[in-house]
């Protein structure tokens, strides 16, 4: 009989009990969260368990939730059981002041580049990673561009008029309009 989400969650609860939270199956994909100290234990268990056999790491990425106090950054692991063809994902949360998460490179070689990418864009510090440096962005970049406090647009430009791009005279990334400003706002006055 093929593996089901219910069996997976039962097996995980046997092992980790109440340490699992936010268990849900959005669009049929089992999703749960654990504390960040447990990420390697969960990965290892999912890998070794003869029933679960999640032995393929599809993706590691991160999410920035600016509103969640002390758990602003989430690292998401996507795993695939190639035998039963079933996928799961789980998240660990970390605060943004010291975003230290243990590296999965000892278990999965493929985690090397994925963690570098996650570091590159979100600044997650993967503790124990053999070569944690930027992989996609220019090396001189001094911030983590996918964090929400940084606007998407290139900040080095002075000759583009934001008004022409539908984002002039606004605050909070265009969510609220500045009542004091009517018409076009030139770049240097922003």
């Amino acid at each position: 009989m093929p593996l089901t989400n219910e069996q997976i969650i039962l097996r995980l609860k046997e092992k980790f009990g109440d340490q699992l939270f936010e268990i849900d199956t959005p669009y049929g994909m089992l999703t749960f969260s654990v504390s960040k100290d447990l990420n390697l234990k969960v990965l290892q268990f999912l890998y070794d368990d003869t029933e679960l056999r999640f032995q393929f790491l599809t993706d590691i990425c991160a999410v920035h939730y600016p509103d969640r106090k002390d758990e602003e950054l989430a690292v998401v692991y996507h795993l695939h059981n190639l035998v039963d063809n079933i996928r799961i994902r789980f998240k660990v949360y970390t605060n943004i002041q010291s975003p230290d998460v243990f590296t999965a490179t000892n278990l999965y070689e493929s985690a090397n580049w994925m963690e570098r990418e996650t570091f590159d864009f979100y600044g997650i510090n993967f503790v124990g990673h053999p070569n944690l440096k930027r992989i996609l962005n220019v090396e001189e970049m001094d911030y983590f561009p996918m964090r929400k406090e940084f606007p998407l647009e290139d900040q080095t430009r002075t000759d583009k008029d934001d008004e022409m791009f539908g984002r002039g005279g606004t605050h909070d990334f265009g969510n609220t309009r500045d009542e004091r400003i009517h018409g076009t706002l030139i770049e240097k006055n922003k």
Partner: protein, 187 residues
Amino acid sequence: MARPVRFNNTEKLIEEPEGYMGEGFMATSFDKVIGLARKNSLWPLPFATSCCGIEFMATMGSHYDLSRFGAERLGFSPRQCDLLMVMGTIAKKMGPILRQVYLQMAEPRWVMAVGACASSGGIFDTYSVLQGIDQVIPVDVYVPGCPPRPEAIIDGFMQIQNLVGQESLRRRNSERYTELLASYSIQ
């Protein structure tokens, strides 16, 4: 009655430069002769990174045929080429490489920025994309469009030809040119 098959008898010949001519000789200035030779034998170096490059392929193909303008021969080594055609989005990480390709070209060299991305970053107003290649190398002609049609690329090419044909032989030694290159920290 006209013949059913027409031969191409409307070929346009290049106009000869101004000069003094007699039987078996012609006297004119080096500027004009060399300009004429250069502008009709440009070797383009295609630096194609995205959709503008596809339009360029059409431009090089038989239908539009850039060869008609003397650019028959694309070079794929910057050391051989006169005209750098940058077609497509240049990411910031690619900026130093583009600059190096430019530096490897021998003088005189010209640069054409084809399409919105190469000219200004285009729709990619984002942290990872160079907002116009003129931030790293000097550009002679900008071709607008997203992507530009082959006609527009040919028009840009003819603008380059104009520049090449009229350029003084001393231009590359001028103080102004040195200053321009110095503003890009090129010696």
